[in-house]
Each structure stands twice: as structure tokens, then as C-alpha cells.
């Protein structure tokens, strides 16, 4: 046994520690699961009074199955074997005669949580790093190692399904409230608690009557049917089969993923027949790759100074404070800072909840009319209005006051970096750090590398982006960078379709049917038609600008923010009619320009390679994730990539 260690204590308790010999993070590879069987054999021979299962890694409990093994699945038989070995291992663990307890500290995800669920008791360490969840659905697969079976027994069906269908994780306190763990305790008493529980052997918590009822076979079907309707609002079964499979497995098979026959829509075979799982694993890999781009160099920013407290600047500042940085936010007068401070307080309250943490985040965000923060900051982000002279003057002044080591960055989306850099004594210091609206929701941040930007500045900017938990994408300084550039022709195609008389609802439906998270017309209304016009102008593209778009924008009907655009907006929601029948070829008319522009951007070297184009499209524009990105989609469609598996992505 190289991965597991059994330690026996004088009091009759034993500890089974997982510390993967060959990796920094605990994951459940075939070998790890095989060794778990060996460990259980050994324990069987001389059963302990109780067994604590824990991690030997400081970074967490268990991150889940070994994703590398997904990439090597060559056949249906392989996939079924993978499901079976985890299912069997945890069924066996759940059946041992001695009491078992999982001591959970740090992440406990997917197969990791299924391992913990197979123990009789669970103790979670109550600290910020502890997160429990079954995020399999995000990879297009199902919690097939007992998660669908055991989680509802502890938390009741509604809460368990919510976790499994959304992939959301929960913290220790929430897990305790939901019944997922028996105790949530601070680290200082975690050992005592684990031992105390195993000695006292409390009766397992019983579900309250109404929740117990949700496990009744008939009620299961009713609940699953309701949940299916909710899922249908967010994802279509032909695009994302996994959440539907989870509901079927819960309703009909008590979580046994091996039970449905291959022809069943909830079977492993069906899940593998669509490229969704492979592509979602690819998306996961792309995300890991972007994260790794922020790891180069030793730059560790503490203080960010943001200039311009408009929507973008204010929200960038709030986000940085939320993520633990000290932030100063500058604008011309105090009144301009006030709305940004209000939005920040709301963000902190929504995300942090705990009053002390909200207070601390607010304390980290200092309004700074005088710009005193410039001299203290490690990163200075300019987010003022798009005027090249104003930006040049600003950076010239900022450069004089900033620390020599500080990164100077502009959030501009339309002004060439080089024009601004010219105002600096050292133009090599300037880079672009281009956030997307809404800042709190958009994962991607483009790190714009100008012709003269020093490589270490770009690397440090990427490290900064990573330090605030966003995904950095290095892009060359060229109009529209990557994201706006590839989005624009797609949007233009949508506007043209409307100009031809196709209803906006129908245009949006075509995109939704393709798998976009939001239709292009609704997206334009959300972003603002004024901005759509400005981006369209900047990127040129030739030909007449879309007529209806211009009419609306000129009339001041700029979308969600003015209450009217292509749609009429009431309390943040567009009033949409039922879409008409989508004309044949409409989806392709929208997507083809997207793909073509992505190919052009790749050819021009806007980003390093095809995978980064796809990453930018998925995380920046929301391009249908289950299709794996525009270039990947095009290659698969044209039959160039026979293998949609994630091996291609490293």
C-alpha cells in the first residue's frame, strides 16, 4: 500500500490516512481504490473499535476521482468498470462491522464526498477551506459512486438534488445544518471530536418526517419530475444529459448508475455517446490551464488602486477587496464614489454573509478621492471613460507617484495600448487588464500585452488576475482583443437577422438551441446597445451598421439599463414572446461568423494557440461549453477531430 496508511492506537481506534504517493492532491485513481480494498482486508482481520478516515495532505481531504482516467476511457466497458470499482469499494466500506468516521478538512468533492458518505459518521472542520460537494454534473457525469444513493438519505431529496444538479459546494456549518455531517468543529478540537464520536457512537441523525418522506419511491418520482422542469429551464437534455440522468437514477434506481440498461437515457452508455462529457472535461482542463498561466513568477500583490469608480472600476475594486486585497478606489469626487461603495457593500453581503467578514471586506476597500493609494499600490488599474488624452494624462501623473515595482494597467476595451503607453517615461510598464461586465460573474480577464509591454509585467498581471480568483488570458493588443472581436461578428449576424424581419425571440432561440447560455439579442440588451454600437464601430467590419440596433440606440432605448431595447425590460427581465419556428440554417448563420473570426484571431496570433481561443470563447462569451469551444466545435463538425476526448488539451 503506497497511498493509504493504517495507524492503530492504544485505545482500539484506528486511522486510515490517504496520502497519494504520486500526487500533491488526493484523488481516487483505480490504484487508490484497489489499495482501499487491501486496507479494508487488513482491518477485517483484526477489526478496530472504530476507524477514522482522513487525509494526509495539508491542502484538503479528497478532490474526487482521477480526471486523467476519464481521458483514457476508450470504451463503454472501461467507463462501466470505472463506475463499478468506486461503487463496489464504497458499498464495501459502508458495510464494515466496525464504526467508521470521515474527518473532513479542506475540499471534499465528488468521489471524495462519496467516500465520506460511505462512512457511518462525518466530522467536518469548520474553516473557510472546507467545501463539500458533488460537482460531477459540471463534467457531464453523475455521482455514480454512491452519492446519488447516500446524500438524499442524509439531507433529504430536495437539498441533495440541488447540490447534485448544480454542483454547488457547501461549507462545514451548512453541511452540519443539512445533516450531511454529524459535527462541524474548529480545527482545535477536530481530533477529540472524531475520537469522541467513535467512542460515544451516537445514534445516526434521523431525517425529519417530511424529509424522510421524500425518499419514498413514489414521492421520489414526483420530486424528480418537478426538478426536471427546473433543469429544463437551464439546460436541454440533448446538450446536457447528466442532470437528467441524475434525476432518473435517483427516482428509479436508488443511485445505482450501473442499473439502467445501455438503451436507457440515464445509462453510462448514453452519457458517453454524446461528446458533452468529454467536452466538459476539456473545459475543466482549459480552466486549469488558464489558472496555470497566473502561476509564473513570484508576484504577490497586496494593494490594488483602481482609478474610475464607474460600473467597471467600482466593481473591479469591490471584487479585489472581496478576494482579500487592500483596495483604494479613486474618482474625481466623493459623490462619484458613493454608488460604487453601495454596490460593494451589497456584493460583500451576498457573498460573505457573515457580518464580521463583510465588515473586513468594507474596511479593505478605501474610497480615495486624493489618489493617495497610488503610492502604495502594487497594481494600478485605470478604468475611466474611453478617452485617449485623459488616459495619457492620467498615466503620466500616476507613473510619477507609483512605486517603481507597481504594475500599471488599463481596462480599456477600445484604445490601443501603445497610444497610452507613449505617455509614460517607461512604456514597457503598461499592460491591459480587461475585465468583463458583470465583474463578479465573468471569470475571464484578458491580460493585454502591448507591443512594448515587458514579459514580466504581463506575467505579473496574470498573477494578479489569478490572485483575485479570475482566469487570466494573455492576448495581443489588437482591436477587440479576443473576446469582443470574436463576439462582434456573431452579434452583427444576429442584428442583421432582426433587420431582415426575424423576431428577436426567434434569433435568440436559434442560439439557445445551439447551446449558448443567452441569446445574442438579449445579450446585447443586457450589455447595453450603446456599447454594442461602439464596439461595432471600433471593430469596423464594413457594410452598413445594423439598422434596428442604430434606431434603438439613437432613440435612447439602450436595453436593460433604460428599460427598453430590442425587448421591454421590467424588473430586470425581458418581456419575450414565444419564439417562432427557427428558419433552417439560422443557427449556422450566427455561429459561422463566430467560428470564422475565432480562426482569424488564431491565425493572427491574438492568443497563443487554439485551446486558448476556445478558453476565451467559453469563459469570456459563454460559448456553449458542452461543444468544447468554437474551434473544437468546428474541427469536430468537419470531422477533423475524431477524438473529442480531453487528451488533446494540456
Amino acid at each position: 500500500m503506497g497511498h493509504w496508511t493504517i495507524t492503530r492506537e492504544g485505545d482500539g481506534l484506528a486511522t486510515l490516512t490517504l496520502d497519494r504517493a504520486d500526487a500533491g492532491t488526493n484523488t481516487l485513481s483505480a490504484e487508490v481504490l484497489r489499495e482501499l480494498g487491501e486496507a479494508l482486508d487488513l482491518l477485517e482481520r483484526d477489526p478496530p473499535r472504530g476507524l477514522i478516515v482522513r487525509s494526509g495532505k495539508a491542502n484538503g481531504f479528497v478532490a474526487g476521482a482521477d480526471i486523467d482516467e476519464f481521458g483514457r476511457l476508450d470504451s463503454e466497458a472501461d467507463a462501466i468498470a470505472l463506475v463499478k470499482r468506486g461503487w463496489d469499494a464504497f458499498e464495501r466500506l459502508a458495510a464494515v462491522r466496525y464504526p467508521t468516521l470521515a474527518l473532513i478538512r479542506g475540499f471534499c468533492l465528488g468521489g471524495g464526498l462519496e467516500l465520506a458518505l460511505a462512512c457511518r459518521y462525518r466530522v467536518a472542520v469548520d474553516e473557510p477551506g472546507t467545501r463539500l460537494g458533488l460537482p460531477e454534473v459540471m463534467l457531464g457525469i453523475v455521482p455514480g459512486w454512491g452519492g446519488i444513493k447516500r446524500l438524499p438519505r442524509l439531507a433529504g431529496a430536495p437539498a441533495a438534488l440541488d447540490m447534485m444538479l448544480t454542483g454547488k459546494t457547501i461549507d462545514a456549518k451548512r453541511a452540519k445544518r443539512m445533516g450531511v455531517v454529524d459535527e462541524a468543529v474548529p480545527p482545535r478540537i477536530m481530533e477529540n471530536t472524531a475520537r469522541g464520536v467513535l467512542k460515544a457512537l451516537p445514534a445516526p441523525r434521523k431525517l425529519p418526517f417530511t424529509l424522510a418522506l421524500t425518499l419514498n419511491p413514489l414521492v421520489r418520482r414526483v420530486i424528480a419530475a418537478q426538478a426536471r422542469k427546473q433543469v429544463a429551464r437551464r439546460a436541454r437534455r440533448q446538450h446536457y444529459p447528466a442532470p437528467y440522468a441524475i434525476l432518473d437514477l435517483f427516482a428509479k434506481h436508488d443511485g445505482d448508475a450501473l442499473a439502467p440498461p445501455p438503451s436507457d437515457p440515464a445509462s453510462i452508455a448514453t452519457l458517453l455517446r454524446t461528446p458533452t462529457a468529454g467536452n466538459l472535461v476539456r473545459v475543466f482542463r482549459l480552466q486549469e490551464r488558464l489558472k496555470s498561466l497566473g502561476k509564473e513568477g513570484a508576484f504577490q500583490p497586496n494593494h490594488v488602486h483602481v482609478i474610475g469608480a464607474g460600473t467597471m472600476g467600482g466593481d473591479i475594486a469591490a471584487w479585489c477587496a472581496l478576494r482579500g486585497l487592500t483596495v483604494t478606489l479613486q474618482d474625481q469626487d466623493a459623490a462619484r464614489l458613493a454608488p460604487a461603495m453601495g454596490r460593494a457593500a451589497k456584493l460583500f453581503k451576498d457573498r460573505l454573509r457573515d457580518e464580521r467578514r463583510v465588515r473586513d471586506a468594507l474596511d479593505r476597500l478605501a474610497p480615495d478621492v486624493a489618489g493617495d493609494g497610488v503610492a502604495r499600490a502594487d497594481v494600478i488599474v485605470e478604468a475611466i471613460f474611453e478617452n485617449v488624452e485623459a488616459k495619457r494624462a492620467l498615466f503620466a501623473a500616476v507613473e510619477r507617484r507609483a512605486k517603481p515595482s507597481a504594475i500599471l494597467a488599463t481596462n480599456t476595451s477600445s484604445i490601443p495600448l501603445e497610444e497610452i503607453a507613449g505617455a509614460l517615461a517607461d512604456p514597457t510598464r503598461l499592460c491591459g487588464i480587461h475585465f468583463f461586465n458583470p465583474v463578479a460573474r465573468m471569470m475571464l480577464v484578458e491580460v493585454v500585452v502591448g507591443a512594448r509591454t515587458r514579459p514580466e509585467i504581463a506575467a505579473a498581471a496574470a498573477a494578479f488576475v489569478r490572485s483575485i480568483d479570475k482566469l487570466p488570458l494573455p492576448v495581443k493588443s489588437a482591436p477587440g482583443f479576443l473576446v469582443n472581436r470574436i463576439l462582434a461578428p456573431y452579434m452583427a449576424a444576429a442584428f442583421r437577422a432582426v433587420d431582415e424581419g426575424i423576431a428577436p425571440e426567434t434569433v435568440d432561440e436559434a442560439a439557445l438551441a445551439f447551446g449558448m447560455p443567452m441569446g445574442p439579442i438579449e445579450l446585447a440588451d443586457t450589455v447595453g446597445l450603446d456599447i454594442a454600437v461602439a464596439v461595432g464601430r471600433m471593430l469596423g467590419g464594413g457594410g452598413d451598421p445594423p439598422r434596428r440596433l442604430l434606431e434603438l440606440a439613437n432613440a435612447g432605448h439602450v436595453g436593460k439599463k433604460s428599460g427598453r431595447g430590442f425587448y421591454t425590460w421590467t424588473s430586470g427581465k425581458p418581456a419575450k414572446q414565444a419564439p417562432g419556428a427557427v428558419p433552417p440554417g439560422l443557427a449556422d448563420r450566427l455561429v459561422a461568423p463566430f467560428v470564422a473570426e475565432a480562426q482569424a484571431a488564431l491565425a493572427e496570433g491574438i492568443v497563443g494557440d487554439a485551446d486558448l481561443v476556445d478558453a476565451g470563447a467559453i469563459f469570456g462569451t459563454g460559448f456553449a461549453p458542452f461543444r468544447g469551444g468554437p474551434l473544437h466545435y468546428a474541427a469536430a463538425r468537419d470531422g477533423k477531430a475524431a477524438d473529442p476526448a480531453p487528451r488533446a488539451v494540456v
Partner: protein, 445 residues
């Protein structure tokens, strides 16, 4: 009556000789003073202290963690932040290693904090000190009455249904009437007088009329308005933002309509019906915080600071609690004596306006032969103080008196006035509930 003059009559006392190390005031800032509007205000005391201190520290060339200590005066810290200085220091980002402590000398707590900083700098214990004062009087608690407390104690001790039933029978609705914590704080425990009643004492003693009080109060409002309009308060006031994104940019107790005519309509508040002191000619109940950065010569050199001024001398004095409003006279006079200065040798005076009657009484006392001889041990009267130099930007009657903060505010504001007017020296003096006075002589660098 106390005689603080005793110790100075025979020349410069020993402790003054030790006061040779210069004490620099590097910079200072305060929050807007926000009038309490009969409900908890938008900011807690530590919110106020944090907001002002954070902005002040941001513009210094040293990092917050380089402070040697943080001292904060607070007359009424809330139960959850009793050592509010430590809460504020941590919230401002001073880090775990900077010690912080809270001081209390009622209305002069913010001046006491500065004095404590001076003492530690002089003793060589500190070089760089953040000292200030704060109070959120709008959040002063409502307390259970003694009767209610006793009833609750019995309730929790009751074990049987019978005992509880008996207690329920004994309960009286009057038990529920809360004790207003603030009124307790504003009542002298020795002589049982409300602070406003001590001001009535002074009005009686010096024959100060209601009209004089109201005229003084109106002038305070007019001066604050003028100062606000011309931007004279902009440097010292740090704007606040609440969680709804509302901006609090300026002191909000000052009123355009506080004219002598309008003030004359108000009813006496403390000696009801036949008194003269009203809410309009008293300082306002207010929330606010203020800080100054104090530094030794060595700290100035080390951090290349550009100090705005020095604190040259400081004095505390005691007097009859029933006459507490004359505290400034008893504290400032020994400083003038030591420094060989007359009242009008100074370029400005910030004499905290607890009550219009009390400020006027101070002026009368200095200009009164008998008072100066018998109470101060002087050969004769000090004379009249030029009112053109007194509280030139108004005072607590219009700005409000967030008890702990006022002592720091007036020291800081003396510097502001000196810088603006090109003057050299000014005095900050304050009366203190319980029968004390405090004063500091400030010099511009």
C-alpha cells in the same frame, strides 16, 4: 474650589523641564460630525474611527504597521468594543503587532489620548503614535432599570412554576421603561446635576442672558456654514459612505435657520420652564471621530515626515463639578502663565462649545478681577479675549459634540486655522463633565 495655580506660582515646575522633547503633530483628519436623530446612526463608533483613520494613514509616508501605538479616547464605547482603540487599529490595517488602548476622560477623552501619546513619546516608549477620539452617541444603549434587572435575575433563578407565577404577579409595566444610557452619562454623579444645569449655574453666576446665549449659538451656526461653504473644513473632514451607498460628506447638525429669532422660540431643556439653556444653545448630541498623528523628532527624521505643528504645552485642571464649564479657564491659564503669554498673544482659540453659556462664562471669568484673584490665584483679571480669534469656524453648538472626539478635533482645528491665517500659536481648551478642564498649546511649524 481647586487652585491649579498653586504649582506654577513659584516658577516653572519640574515636570515642565522634562517637556523639552518636541511633540510633532504630523497630520490629522476627522469624520463629518453626524447629528443623532433619536435613533441609532448609520455608523458604529469603530466604523467612524476606522474611516477617518484609514484615510489619514493612507496619505502618510509610513505604513500603518509602523505606528508604535494607537490611543483612542472614547467616553461611551459600546459593550462589544470596550477597547475600541484595538478594534479600530486592527480594522485600519495596523496589523497584530501595534498595541492599542482606549482612554476615558469624559468630554476630553480625545485630548487625553493625545496627552497619553505625548507622555509615551516623552518617556521614550513611542515615536509614532496615532491618537484620537470617537463616540457614536446615537448608539448609546437603552438600559434595563434596576427594578427590571432584579426581576429578571429572580426569573432566571426561578425553578418551579409556582415561583414563576409569583414573579409574573409581581411584574409592573413600569419596569419596562428603559433607562437612557446617554442621560446617565450626562448627569454628574457627585452633584446630581445634568450638564446643562451646570451651565445654568454659570449663567446665574455671571448674569448671562438667554439672548446672549442664543446670539452666541446663532454665530456658531453662521461660522460653520461659512467655513463649509468656503471649503475650510475640506482637508480635515473625510467623507463617509454607508452600506446603501449614501454619502455623508459634511457635518450635518448645522442649520441655516438657527437665527437668534428662531432660537428664542425654543423651550429651556434642563431647568424646565424657567431656565435659559435650550437644546439650541447647547452642543448637539452627535456621532464622530477624529485622529492626529503624533511623532517624536526621531520619528520625523526617520520617516521624513513634514509635521504640521507641535504641541508645546498641556494642562489638566480640576474644579467644582457644579461649575465644570469653567474648566478651560483653569486649564489654559497655567499654560499662559508658564509661557508668559496673555489671552490675545495667541492667534486663535478653540474653546469647545459645550454650552453657549459656558463659553461666555469662561470669557467673563477671565475678565473678572475677583474671579481671577480668588479662583486662579492671579493678581488681577486676565482681560477680555478677542472674540475674532475665538472659534472662528464655529463649534460644537453647530457641529455637535461627539464627546470623545471633540478634544482631538479642537487640537486639529487650531492647526487648520493657524495654517490658513498664517498665525503661529493657538490654544485648544475643553470643559469636562465631573469638574475638569483640559488645554493644549499648539504651534505651527
Amino acid at each position: 474650589m481647586t487652585h491649579p495655580g498653586n504649582r506654577v506660582r513659584h516658577g516653572i515646575p519640574e515636570f515642565v523641564m522634562a517637556m523639552q522633547e518636541p511633540i510633532y503633530v504630523v497630520d490629522g483628519a476627522r469624520t463629518p460630525f453626524l447629528k443623532a436623530r433619536n435613533r441609532p446612526g448609520p455608523f458604529s463608533a469603530s466604523d467612524l474611527a476606522t474611516a477617518a483613520g484609514r484615510a489619514l494613514l493612507l496619505r502618510q509616508p509610513f505604513a500603518p504597521a509602523e505606528l508604535d501605538e494607537v490611543i483612542l479616547g472614547c467616553a461611551a464605547p459600546s459593550a462589544d468594543e470596550v477597547n475600541i482603540a484595538r478594534v479600530a487599529a486592527l480594522r485600519m490595517g495596523c496589523g497584530h503587532k501595534v498595541p492599542a488602548w482606549t482612554v476615558m476622560r469624559n468630554c476630553a477623552s480625545g485630548m487625553q489620548a493625545i496627552d497619553a501619546g505625548i507622555a509615551n513619546i516623552r518617556a521614550g516608549k513611542s515615536g509614532l503614535v496615532l491618537a484620537g477620539g470617537v463616540d457614536a452617541l446615537s448608539r448609546a444603549p437603552l438600559l434595563f432599570s434596576d427594578a427590571m434587572t432584579l426581576w429578571l435575575a429572580n426569573w432566571y433563578a426561578a425553578r418551579t412554576l409556582g415561583q414563576r407565577a409569583a414573579l409574573v404577579a409581581k411584574f409592573r409595566p413600569s419596569y419596562l421603561a428603559p433607562v437612557i444610557g446617554l442621560m446617565k452619562g450626562l448627569t454628574d454623579p457627585m452633584v446630581g446635576l445634568l450638564m446643562g444645569q451646570t451651565a445654568e449655574n454659570l449663567a446665574y453666576r455671571f448674569g448671562i442672558t438667554r439672548g446672549e446665549m442664543d446670539a452666541y449659538a446663532a454665530r456658531s451656526h453662521a461660522r460653520v456654514l461659512a467655513a463649509q461653504k468656503s471649503g475650510r473644513l475640506d482637508r480635515e473632514v473625510v467623507p463617509l459612505y454607508d452600506r446603501a451607498g449614501k454619502l455623508y460628506a459634511a457635518d450635518d447638525g448645522v442649520r441655516e435657520d438657527s437665527t437668534p429669532e428662531n432660537l428664542a422660540k425654543l423651550r429651556p431643556f434642563f431647568d424646565r420652564k424657567y431656565g435659559n439653556v435650550t437644546a439650541g444653545n447647547s452642543s448637539q448630541v452627535t456621532d464622530g471621530g477624529a485622529w492626529v498623528v503624533l511623532a517624536s523628532q526621531r520619528a520625523v527624521d526617520e520617516h521624513k515626515l513634514a509635521p504640521r505643528g507641535r504641541i508645546v504645552d498641556a494642562q489638566w485642571a480640576g474644579l467644582d463639578p457644579a461649575q465644570m464649564g469653567l474648566g478651560p479657564v483653569h486649564a489654559a491659564t497655567p499654560i499662559l502663565q508658564r509661557q508668559g503669554l496673555g489671552l490675545n498673544d495667541l492667534d486663535c482659540w478653540e474653546l469647545n462649545e459645550a454650552f453657549a453659556a459656558q463659553v461666555i462664562a469662561c470669557l467673563r471669568a477671565w475678565d473678572d478681577d475677583e474671579y481671577c484673584r480668588t479662583e486662579l490665584g492671579l493678581p488681577g483679571k486676565m482681560g477680555g479675549l478677542d472674540e475674532g480669534k475665538l472659534n472662528v469656524d464655529g463649534g460644537a453648538i453647530a457641529l455637535g459634540h461627539p464627546v470623545g472626539a471633540s478634544g482631538t478635533r479642537i487640537v486639529l482645528h487650531v492647526l487648520e486655522v493657524l495654517e490658513r491665517s498664517g498665525g503661529r500659536r493657538g490654544m485648544a481648551a475643553i470643559c469636562i463633565g465631573g469638574g475638569l478642564g483640559g488645554a493644549m498649546l499648539v504651534e505651527r511649524t
